[in-house]
Structure formats: C-alpha cells, structure tokens
Amino acid sequence: MLLPPALQARLAGAPGAAEPLPVQRDSAAGAAPFLFSPRPVRFPRDHQFFEDGDVQRHLFLQEVLTQVAEEPEKSRVPEFTCQVAGCCQVFVALEDYQHHYHMLHGNTCSFCNRAFPSGHLLDIHILEWHDSLFQILAQRQDMYQCLVEGCPEKFKTSQDRKDHMVKLHLYPADFRFDKPKTNRGPSTPGAAVELSARPLRDDEEAMEVCSEPAMLTPCRRTYSHRIPSTICFGQGASRGFKRTRKNKHQ
C-alpha cells in the first residue's frame, strides 16, 4: 500500500481538519432499487466479525511464558535476620524477605502485634479491639462493619457481621481474619504483651508473630506500622509478563 509521503508529517502535525467540502444530495441517490445509505456499524460481543482478532488475542495468551525462574534467580545474600523487634525469621534471599516483611510486618497492630494482610483489616481490628470509644458506641448503634471492601453494611454484633459475610458474600464461616475477640493479648493500651515464645502452629491465630513482648506506651491510639505500598526493597516489581515470541510472523 503506497501511502502519500506527506501522511507521516500530517500525523505529527497539529490537530484539526480542512474545511469540509459542501454536501449536496440529490433525492434520486438513495431511491429504489438502490439500498445504500451511509451508516456507522456496530458489532456485538460474539459476532463472527471478531473471530480473527479474538483468535490472535488467545494465541498471544497461550504463547506467553514468563521468564521469571524460581530459586536460581533469587538475589542470594548472606543469611540475615529480620530486624523487626521480636521477629526471629532468617532469610537468604531478598525476595523472600520482601514478601515476609509485607505480609507479617506491613500491617501490624502496635497494641497486640497481630499482623493483617491489608491496611483495611488492620484499621477495623484496631477499632474493634483497642478502641474503648468503639465499645461504648457499639452499645447504642450498629458499629461492626462488613469486612468486604465496598460493602457499607454495619452490624450490632460481630456474629451478625459474620452471618452477613457468610450469607451475602459467600465467605467461609471460619474466615481467618475475622476471629472473635479473645483474651490473648491486650485489648487496652498500656498492658504488657505476654505472648508465648513457642513457634505457633499455622492453624491457630493466623498471622501472629512469634515474638517477645514489645514495649508499649500507654494511650497510644491509632498508631500502626503501615508500610507505604511503594516500598519494594530495591527490587522493583517490574517483572510482569516478559514475552518470548517463540516464532515471529513472517
């Protein structure tokens, strides 16, 4: 297809268009037996017109393999220990430590040292477990908010909330991040934390860090260890799908 040489220059030029030529239609133009009239065409989802492009898209999805290899490519470093107070985990690869740090220290409650997978769940936890005002308000109004982000519902008790999450949101009844409040760990600031130092079994009290007591100052309310999401330990998650086209179109 031989494109006029000025076309590329036009593309790089300013927006706008030449004044349109005058339109002047003759009524004989669209008369029978002729059928044509100009119209934009719309194609719905499953139209056959899209077949070729869809097939190309799916070939692409199928062909792609990531180049992220497993252990051999991790950044090996001399063994080091997590520096967070009380954490005793040891690492030999930065990626492992990055994941550990985010998962277990990223959203940690400064009152009771429980770790949560997200800031959202941490906030709710602090509110419900460590805020005495919450307890007072909860006697008069529905304060237990649904844990599912985007759901505005609130409930009188944590059990009602759980029922809602199970029935409406199809969450498991034993959802790990909705444990009822227990007497482990302090619910008011100021009390010393006395967590056992034994390694915890995975199926109990998920996300609790095995630690020695942390020193807590009294009357600290909403301070929490929240790591900005951009912290990435110098690795940068720029991996993505690195495409290897095994064969080129020729």
Partner: protein
C-alpha cells in the same frame, strides 16, 4: 516507550516448521472453540520447562500417597526448609493433570493448602499460592471449583503490599474465573470488583498487567453484560483504566493491551457506553491510536497489533453511540490526524496481519459515514488511491472499501468531482469482472452515485465497455434491478 520486547529467541528442540505447524493447529482449535463460544485461554506463571525435558519424568504424576505425604510434611514438619521443599515437590507434581485430579479427590487437601496459604510463614504462603496457581491452570472445571475455598483469601491479599504475591493471586484468579461459572458466581458477591478497584492503584506495572488480565477474563464471561459489567461501571475502575491508557512516557504496552481488551468486552456488550464517553474514552482511545501509528513507524514490533486491534474495535463501536448533537463537542471527530493514523495502521496490518484489515476498514466506515469532514480528509490527504490498492485482497475487504467510497460519493458532486477522473473507474470495472455478489452489488451502488453526481464518468464508463461488464450480472436476482438501473443512468444521465 515501545521498546522491543525482552527475551530473545531461545534454542528449541523443534524447528521453525514444526512451530508453524503447531501454531496453525492451535489457531484452528481456537477458531473452532470460538465458534462454539468456548474460547478459554489462560496465563501460567511458571519457570520455563524446556520442551525436551517433558516426558523425562520431569512432570510425572504423583500418586495419592505421595500427595498425602507432601501435604502432611508441609503442614506438620518441624524444619522450615523441609516444609518448603515438600510444598515445592507438590507444586511440581501439580503441573500434571493427573496429580491435580488426585489432589482434589483427597479429602482435606484443599483445607490444608488454604491453611498454608493463610499461615504466618511467608515462604510457605508463597509456595501454597503457587500450588493454587498450578491448579488454576487445569482445564477441568472441577479442579477450578475445588479451589473455591481459597478465593476469599486471594481477594483479601489483593489489598496487601507484597507485589509479587499480589501478581500471583491475580493470575490465579484470572485463570479460575475463565474456567468456571461457579467461581465467578462466588467471586462477584465476595467483592472482586471493589478489590480490583483498590488494587488498580498499585504503582507496580506487573501488578497492573496481572489485574488487567484477570479483569479481561471476568469481563469476557458470557454472563458479564448482566451480572458483572453494571457493577464494574458503577465502580471507580473505568476512570482508573482510562487514566492508565493515556499515551505518554508512562504507558506500559503490556498493561495497555490488557486494559484495551477489557474495554472492548465492556463496549461491545453495550451496557452503558454513554458513561464511558463522559469519562473521556473517545479522546483517550483516539490519542492512543495516534500514538500507536507513530510507534508503528518507529519500531518493527510485530506485537503492536495486539493493542491496535482492541483500540480500533472500541473506537468503532463507541462512534455509533455518540449522539448527533454531541459530535461537535468531540475533538476527536474534528481531527483528521485520526484518519492519517488509521491509514498508517492499515499499512501495518497489510504487512503483519492482513486478517485484521477488515477491522481497520470498519473504523474507517464509522468515521466517514456521517462526517463530511473525514470524507474531505480522505480526499485532501490523497488517500483514495491507497484505499483502492486494497481492493484485490479479498471480497470482504472489497466490500468494505467500496462502502467507504460510497460514504464519500453520496455526499454530492463536490466529492464525486474528486473521485473521478482517476483510477476509480477501472477498479470498478475490475470488480464487475468478479462474481462475488456482495462486492458487485456495492460497486453498483457506487457507480450509481458516481454517475449521478459526475456525469462525465458515465461517458468514460460506456467507452470502456462498461455495459458489457454489467451484462453478466443480469442473471443474479439480487443484482438484476440495480444493474438495469445503472445501465439506465449511464445511458440517459
């Protein structure tokens, strides 16, 4: 920005011919699947297993006893390293479909895996997620459904900060979504849309690409127009997506491809495209198209059509929904650079992927149908001749080219005067020598318009034995009346 993709050619056991054959087979299988509306493709994050190693016991299936043993060791082992190794072995085994079946049939296996997924041991968590990812690749919906107990956790982890982990969860979710309607039925009430809306604010490109993939699978579902797209449009996702598709130095091609396909599935479902237009979809996509046309000239990247195709589709479909009174307000519709860009992309398709030419011509039709501006652009930018060069390619392409030319011709004498004299008439005579009814029919429409508004063209037609060329089509019922009418117009003006 559009730098060539990473990863050069890898030495492979099979030759180029073998690869081509396999690709043709896969292409045929995909076409069949699409016709049966069973188009399912997934992405797998896994280390590259060289083709030669397959079948050497590298992925031999695990027996029930082995699966049980690995699970027990992972759950109860005392040494951390041992537990991790057990999970790694399980994961490798799960690459095999037989092992996947064995695993899901084993009572309590998913419970244990979910327990490890939510444990306080980060590395075990990661390996457990990788096991789930392997399971998600299964082509048996029963396996996908066996993963249902894990979905609430996968969604919860999307709000975390460990980007590698989030990426893994997203690809796993995307795979599960496309495999099973039961999974989708659970994920929507579990809040996948708000979870993705929170996740799309991640600064990590890899996460965004994974998110786009998962979302595209969700939006492609057959029940999406009723069950998923409305809540999607209610969320903040559309604005964020369009934001991430703005051309510029920060645009990532991998991310853009996924989101472009998401937009296509939304737009062609015709749920509420007016909303997307108010969010600026037309101008974002138009600017992106200009950008792509520029990129095509700079690089030889054969992968660009993956992005061009959905962008073209979105624009074409959206154009049908701009109300007449709003046309003037859309900058895109007064900017002839879009026509220039489209032709550059048509040329690109001609070289790299001719099967996509009809899609480009579709956009050209929608741009020109009701637009004297763009019809004038075709003339003033000298694009009629390049357009005619596409005629011989196929009947489908001919019909579309002729339709665009009709769009121009029907605007009146000022336009037809620029269509002839020129190569148009001899091209039309060539078309008349064909037997494809639709192409001939469209050329009759064009001839009628041309003769009406540019009578001298009729003279030339007669002199070039046009009447005889018309004769042979008199026997075709669909053409007969129009052939008579064109003959009459040519002879009597």
């Amino acid at each position: 920005m559009w730098s060539s993709r990473l990863g050069g050619p890898r030495p492979l056991a099979c030759g180029v011919e073998e690869l081509r054959r396999r690709r043709r087979e896969r292409e045929a299988a995909l076409r069949k699947a699409r016709r049966e509306q069973q188009l399912v493709s997934k992405r797998l994050l896994r280390e590259d297993v060289p083709e030669e190693a397959a079948g050497e016991g590298a992925d031999a299936p695990l027996g029930e006893a082995e699966v049980q043993q690995f699970l027990r060791l992972a759950q109860r082992g005392t040494d951390e390293k041992e537990r991790e190794k057990a999970l790694v072995s399980l994961r490798r085994g799960l690459q095999h479909p037989d092992t996947q079946q064995t695993f899901i049939r084993l009572e309590g296996s998913m419970r244990i895996l979910v327990g490890l997924l939510t444990s306080n041991r980060a590395l075990l968590q990661l390996e457990a997620a990788r096991c789930l990812h392997e399971l998600s690749h299964s082509e048996q919906s029963a396996v996908a459904e066996a993963c249902l107990p894990a979905t609430s956790y996968l969604l919860t982890y999307l709000s975390g900060h460990s980007s590698d982990f989030i990426e893994l969860c997203l690809y796993t979710l995307g795979n599960l979504i496309v495999e099973s309607e039961a999974v989708r039925k659970q994920l929507v009430p579990q809040g996948i849309i708000p979870a993705l809306a929170a996740c799309i604010q991640s600064p990590h490109v890899a996460v965004l690409e994974a998110l786009g993939y998962a979302l595209s699978q969700l939006l492609q579902a057959k029940e999406a127009p009723e069950k998923i797209i409305p809540s999607f449009l209610d969320s903040t996702l559309p604005q964020h997506m369009l934001q991430l598709m703005q051309p510029g130095p920060k645009l990532n091609p991998g991310v853009a491809v996924e989101f472009a396909w998401c937009l296509h599935y939304i737009i062609c479902s015709q749920v509420n495209n007016a909303l997307l237009i108010t969010h600026g979809a037309l101008s974002t996509l138009g600017l992106l198209l200009l950008d792509l046309a520029g990129a095509v000239q700079r690089t030889d990247d054969a992968g660009l059509e993956l992005l061009v195709c959905p962008v073209l589709r979105c624009l074409s479909n959206l154009l049908t929904e701009v109300p007449v009174e709003a046309v003037g307000g859309q900058m895109l519709l007064r900017d002839e650079r879009i026509v220039a860009a489209l032709f550059i992309l048509l040329e690109f398709f001609l070289q790299k992927q001719p099967s996509l030419l009809p899609e480009g011509l579709w956009l050209l039709n929608n741009l020109t149908a009701n637009s004297p501006t763009f019809c004038t652009s075709l003339l003033s930018l000298d694009l009629i001749e390049p357009l005619l060069q596409l005629l011989p390619l196929s009947n489908a392409v001919s019909v579309m080219v002729l339709t665009v030319l009709c769009n121009v011709a029907e605007k009146g004498p000022a336009y037809c005067q620029r269509l002839w004299p020129g190569p148009l008439l001899s091209c039309l005579l060539n078309i008349l020598a064909l037997s494809d009814t639709e192409a001939v029919g469209q050329s009759l429409e064009l001839l009628q318009l041309l003769f009406l508004y540019q009578p001298e063209a009729a003279q030339a037609f007669l002199q070039q034995s046009g009447l005889q060329a018309l004769e042979r089509h008199l026997e075709e019922i669909q053409l007969r009346d129009r052939v008579h009418a064109v003959q009459h117009t040519a002879l009597h003006g």
